[in-house]
Each structure stands twice: as C-alpha cells, then as structure tokens.
C-alpha cells in the first residue's frame, strides 16, 4: 500500500463456515472511494443482490474505519456500520464514536465484512493478527452494557467493544449497535447483527497508523485544536452542554418538532433543555471519543423522583426531541430513563420516539384504542406510556411488535388514515430538524440515501445563520454541496461536531489538507468532490436497483407539504409540492441526474467511473 493512513487489510468473517480471511486493500479502491462509507458501499453493492431480505445470511454487515481513524485528527474517533437496512430495505450507514475505529486500525484492519450466520451465538475477537470466532452463549440475553463489561472482565480493560442488546437479538428493525456508550443508531443495524447470531465484537491492537507527512500533520492538528477552542460553538457550548441546549433555541426559533410535528414549539422546552438538566444537578461529567478535544458527551444521573437512579450518556438533542417534545413529554427524568433503556436494549432513540409519537397521534384521533395499546392511555405527554412502550418494542410484546417495525409499516398495519401521521422519509423516521422551517434541510431529507436522516443533508448552515433559511432559491444546489461534504467526511471519517471547523456547506481546503497530510494523495477540491459524488451516486444506484427509488419517492411527509407551521417565529412556513419540485430540479441538475426519473444519467455514471452499474438501472440499453 503506497498510501498512508490505512492498515491495508480488511477482515472477512464468514459466520456460516466459521472462517476468517484477510484481504488486501486495493489502491484503486483507496483512490476512488477513500474509506468509510466509500469502501462500505463498494462492497455492499457488489455482494448484496437486489431484493435480498436484509435478515438473510447473505446480507453483509460491514464495519469500516477511514484514513483519519487512529490518527490525532480531531473528530476522527469514529467508525461506521453499513448494511442493507431491515427498516427501509435500502442502503444504510450509521456512525458511532468512541475507540473502536481506532483500535481496529491498531489491530491492523481498515474494516470488517461479516457474512453468513453462526449456528449459535458468537462474538468476534480481534487481537492484532489473531482473529477468532468465540462462543457467546453466556452473553446472549445480556444488555449492551452488561455484554461489554463482561467482555472487558474476560479480555482485559484495554479491549474495545461493540455489542447488540436484546432488541438486536430479537431482530427488531429499530435495533442499533452500541460501542462503549455510543450508538450506531439508525436503520436497524442491530437487527442485522442479531440475524447473524453475532452478539459482539472485541478488538485490541498494538500497531501504529502512519501518516504521509507527520510534521505537517502535527502542525495541522495543532491549528485545528486552536480553532476548536477559539470558536464559541466547539470551545464553549458543546463542551458545556453537548447538543442539549438546542432544545430551547430551536423552540424559540419555532423549529422544534412537537407532538409528532403538529407544532414546532413546545411549552415544555425549558423543562427538558440541557440548562435545566444542569440546574437540577443531574450533570455529573462529560466524556470524549479518542483524539477529540471537544468532549461533547454529557453524563447524566437523575437523583430524585420516580426515575431516581436513571443514568445515561446524553440525552442528546435528538433524544430530548424523540422521547420529549415530539411525544409532548416535559418530564426530563423520564427521558433520561428512556434513553438509558434504549441504550441497554440496543434501540435507536430517534425512531423509537418518533414511532411512539406516531402511535400517540393515532390514539388521540381514534385510529387505535386501548384494545391495540393493551390498555395504555396513549396520550401525548404520558411519560409512563413511553417507558412502557420502549420495553414492549424491545421485548416484542403487545403493540411493541407492530411499533418495532417503524412508523411506515405500523401505519400500513393500522390503516384507517394512519399513514398521514407516519412522519418518515423512505421508511426512516424523521429526526429533530425541521423541514418546514429549514428548506435546505427539507431537500436534504427528500434526497437522503438513508431516508429520514439529518446526516446526509444538514440543518447546521441554516440554523447557525451561515445560510439564510428564508431563501428558497439555490437550496437544491446547496443540499447537493452539503451532501458532498457529509459523504467525504464519512469516508475520511470525521465527526459532525467538527463540521464548523472543517467546513459545513461544502468541501473545503481543510478537507484537501487533511487528505493530503494523512494519505499522501495530493487531491484538489474538484477531485474530492468526484470521490464524494461517486460514493453518494453508488449509494443511490443501490437503492434504485432495489426497484422503488426515484423522483417520485424523493419526497416529504404530507404534513410538511400541506400543513404550515401553526405558530411562533416560523409560522406559515411550509414546503409545498411546488417548492419541493423546484428544489428537486435544481438538485438533480447539480448532481447530473435525470430530472424526470431522479436516476443518475449514464453520462454522469461514466464520468464518475461507474460504467459497470449502468446496466443495473438501465437494463434495456
């Protein structure tokens, strides 16, 4: 491998045949896809045939690092899980923080491709070049933290781990993977891991990660740390409150999803805001991922009331929305408890909260009654109902069996007009960032390869005033450029918490510099845009190949297109179908995709070196 920043090897684990092999990382793969999501989609596309049941042993569970992992680059303490999602039946990539990504590199691997299904519960042990599939009978049934503690007891404190909980074991489509205290939350990655009878992965390594220009890199990292410390966002707000103080600000801006997005202001915003958590004395410290000077994760312990003893990392802004405002729940202690339960069971807090809010609106409109809820009065604000439903979803009991499949499928099951209350994009529940109040976010959602995710398009530019949220014109091109930034950062892999430092509305000189200093590849901005476009376009083609992704499905929930925000500073804002269509035209033009179908054109696919996939979406040519 002539490029630095890579271990140069990928582990392939065939659980059906109890076999582990190692493959060299191809230099062409590096030049074309860089790492992380890029490597992931390349392997997924080639190895997972269209139409495959995501819980079939043939599906791949791919865990990747990027060239940044294992170096000192601030924000590079992450890794990604890539698979075909059992929630959306499409591509999903979900990222997690902590130490696992770096440790995998120190062990000598850029990633792991897991296929097949073990005939009994197992875990994967990676100890430098010794890689074994181990019996996990004694771990099966334990929650995510119990599992990881037990592995540390058995293997030593220096082991880095990830695990599924009971929800993943039961293959709940909302199940996630937890590594340390961080979640690869979205899209049901935990269910895929559970379908393979894989309970956990433990990794430890002793090798170095080399960079191409060590002196230049040290100087660069020093300047990045200075910039992080100097900026009010990364130097003050995130270290003190994490993302939690955004509840009150977004309420005041009128862009906080409330009661399943019926409103975007929540009268309980102050009660669940990060400042209140601190004032109540629940904040007991913060923790950090490897090589990060921000330390945004807040450790929270409830010390009073019926939820006394509830302990969690977070809740993050997303969870305060999901188990709080969108469920009409102003009881912050119950949110801490619910967050803890989701982490322990291994459930995505965003989708869990969103599907409970959906059920609450169905209940209040008479679409479901106590017969379906098992006697629960499922009104907005009922925090005990939220706690009860989290358990039912994880354990697949009662209505939890239905809600565990997500809002889209639950709405199809309930019928009777429930679809209108299912707030999702392509089967993935929409997170905490307003579509109606932030048009750049709206088009970002509609065109996200993950579905209702805020990690392809971003809310940050409009929410921080770097882009005017009142302007519609140009937001299609803006969304494509933001997605280029996120696709590139997800291949290097850097954390979104550093997006304001490295560049949040497109690919910048910082990205050019970090790629050059780490890998030795002297790529300019246009060449990095090509890599980002190649990755994003191949993800798109993967979804199109599944048979139902097109301009028609690049859309938003009806509520966001038909019901203006009812009050507050964003009152009247709505993304009408006309606005969405205008932005889609702009977006497709910027991407070189066909405006009628939403498919990448053959010309664009050729330009990106993706000639081989043309036949998959244009079979008659």
């Amino acid at each position: 491998m002539k490029y630095q920043g890579y271990a140069g090897k990928i582990l392939r684990v065939d659980l059906s045949n109890n076999k582990v092999t190692m493959e060299n990382v191809d230099e062409t793969l590096v030049r074309q896809y860089l790492g992380g999501n890029g490597f992931g989609i390349k392997y997924l596309y080639e190895e997972v045939p269209a139409g495959l049941n995501p819980l079939d042993p043939t599906n791949r569970l791919i865990i990747m690092s990027g060239p940044g992992e294992g170096t000192m680059l601030p924000g590079a303490g992450r890794a990604v899980v890539i698979t075909k999602s059992p929630l959306t039946n499409h591509f999903i990539d979900s990222y997690f923080g902590g130490h696992f990504g770096a440790e995998l590199k120190y062990a000598g691997y850029d990633g792991i491709i897991i296929q097949g299904k073990a005939d009994k519960p197992v875990y994967l042990l990676i100890d430098d070049d010794k890689v074994t599939i181990e019996d996990a009978s004694d771990l099966w049934g334990l929650n995510t933290f119990q599992t990881q503690f037990k592995l540390r007891e058995k293997l030593g404190e220096d082991i880095s781990t990830l695990a599924i909980g009971p929800a993943g074991e039961r293959m709940v489509p909302l199940a996630c993977i937890i590594s340390g205290v961080s979640a690869a939350g979205r899209g049901g990655t935990g269910a895929v891991m559970g379908s393979k009878n894989l309970k956990a992965i433990a990794a430890r390594g002793t090798q170095d990660v080399a960079v191409a220009d060590i002196e230049g890199f040290k100087q660069y990292v020093k300047s990045v740390v200075e910039r992080i410390k100097a900026h009010p966002g990364t130097g003050k707000n995130l270290p003190a409150y994490g993302t939690t103080a955004s509840i009150k600000t977004n309420h005041d801006l009128g862009i906080l999803g409330t009661r399943n997005w019926q409103q975007e202001q929540f009268e309980g915003a102050i009660a669940i805001n990060g400042t209140t958590i601190k004032e109540k004395g629940y904040g007991i410290g913060s923790i950090t991922c490897v090589a990060c000077p921000i330390a945004c994760s807040q450790l929270t312990l409830v010390n009073q009331g019926i939820y006394k003893g509830a302990l969690t990392i977070g809740p993050e802004y997303e969870t305060l929305f999901a188990l709080g405002s969108t469920c009409g729940n102003a009881n912050v202690e119950s949110i801490v408890r619910g967050d803890q339960m989701c982490d322990e069971y291994g459930l995505d807090t965003i989708s869990v909260g969103a599907v409970i809010a959906f059920a609450m609106e169905c209940y209040e409109n008479g679409i479901i009654g106590k017969e379906e809820t098992g006697g629960i009065e499922l009104n907005f604000g009922n925090h005990e109902a939220i706690i009860s439903l989290i358990e039912k979803i994880a354990c697949q009991e009662g209505m939890g069996k239905i809600l565990g499949h997500g809002a889209k499928r639950a709405a199809e099951y309930f019928g009777r007009g429930a679809e209108r209350f299912a707030i999702h994009v392509k089967g993935l529940e929409v997170p905490a960032h307003s579509s109606r109040g932030l048009p750049g976010m709206a088009i970002g959602y509609a065109t996200s390869n993950r579905g209702g995710s805020h990690q392809d398009g971003r809310a940050t530019g409009e929410r921080t005033g770097q882009v005017d949220r009142d302007v519609i014109e140009g937001k299609g091109r803006y969304a494509a450029n933001v997605q280029r930034m996120t696709a590139l950062c997800d291949s290097i892999i850097t954390c979104r918490m550093t997006e304001n430092i490295y560049g949040l509305i497109g690919i910048t000189d910082d990205h050019v510099q970090m790629v050059r200093l780490i890998t030795g590849m002297d790529l300019n901005k246009e060449e990095l845009v090509d890599i980002a476009d190649r990755i994003y376009t191949l993800e798109r083609v993967f979804n199109i190949r599944e048979g139902d992704e097109s301009r028609k499905t690049d859309t938003l929930p009806a509520r966001f297109m038909e019901e203006p925000i009812p009050g507050g500073p964003s009152a009247g804002k709505v993304i009408t179908p006309e606005i969405l269509n205008k932005l889609l035209d702009e977006y497709y033009e910027e991407r070189g995709w066909d405006k009628n179908t939403g498919y990448p054109t053959a010309q664009t696919l050729k330009r990106l070196g993706l000639e081989q996939v043309i036949k998959d979406i244009y079979p008659l040519r």
Binding site: K236, T243, S246, T249, L253, T275, Y317, G465, V467
Partner: protein
Amino acid sequence: MAITVNLYAGMERIAGGSSVLLQHKPNMTIEGLLRQLIQQYGDEMRAELVNLKTGEFASSVIIFNGKAMPLLPNLEKQIQDGDEISLITFCAGG
C-alpha cells in the same frame, strides 16, 4: 424603556438569567449591543460570542422582534428603544 435581550446556555449562565435589560443608546446597532454585553460581562461573554482566533463575531441567528435572521449580515441593524432580541447560541454537530 430598555432593550430586552434573551440569552441561552453559557450566555444565560454568565448573565445570571435567560433575559436581561440593556439601556438603549442613540444609534445603537446589533453590533453595539453585543459589544455592550461583552463590556458588561467580560471575557467569559466574549468567548461565547467571538471567535477568539479571528476576533470576529461568530456566525449565528438572532430573533429580532419575533423575526429570525442571520446575525452577521444584520450587525449594522439599528435597534430602537423597546426592541426584543434573542441571541441564539451557536451549535453545530449532532
């Protein structure tokens, strides 16, 4: 009369409340208001508003008499007695 300034997170902690009243001055602008806050509350408040490496105000959003708008293009905006301004804390990531 006075100007009402709504504060969040660290700014709220430094000022000791989520809302403070500032005396209106002739020809006062948004930038003048930010400088007055820094003068009144010192370096801690400066670190919440200014990028200490560039010396410039950090990009953010304000709510000016109920209307949200980007901060930086509106630094020269005139403030009248009785106006209400919310200084939204910068938060990227998540």
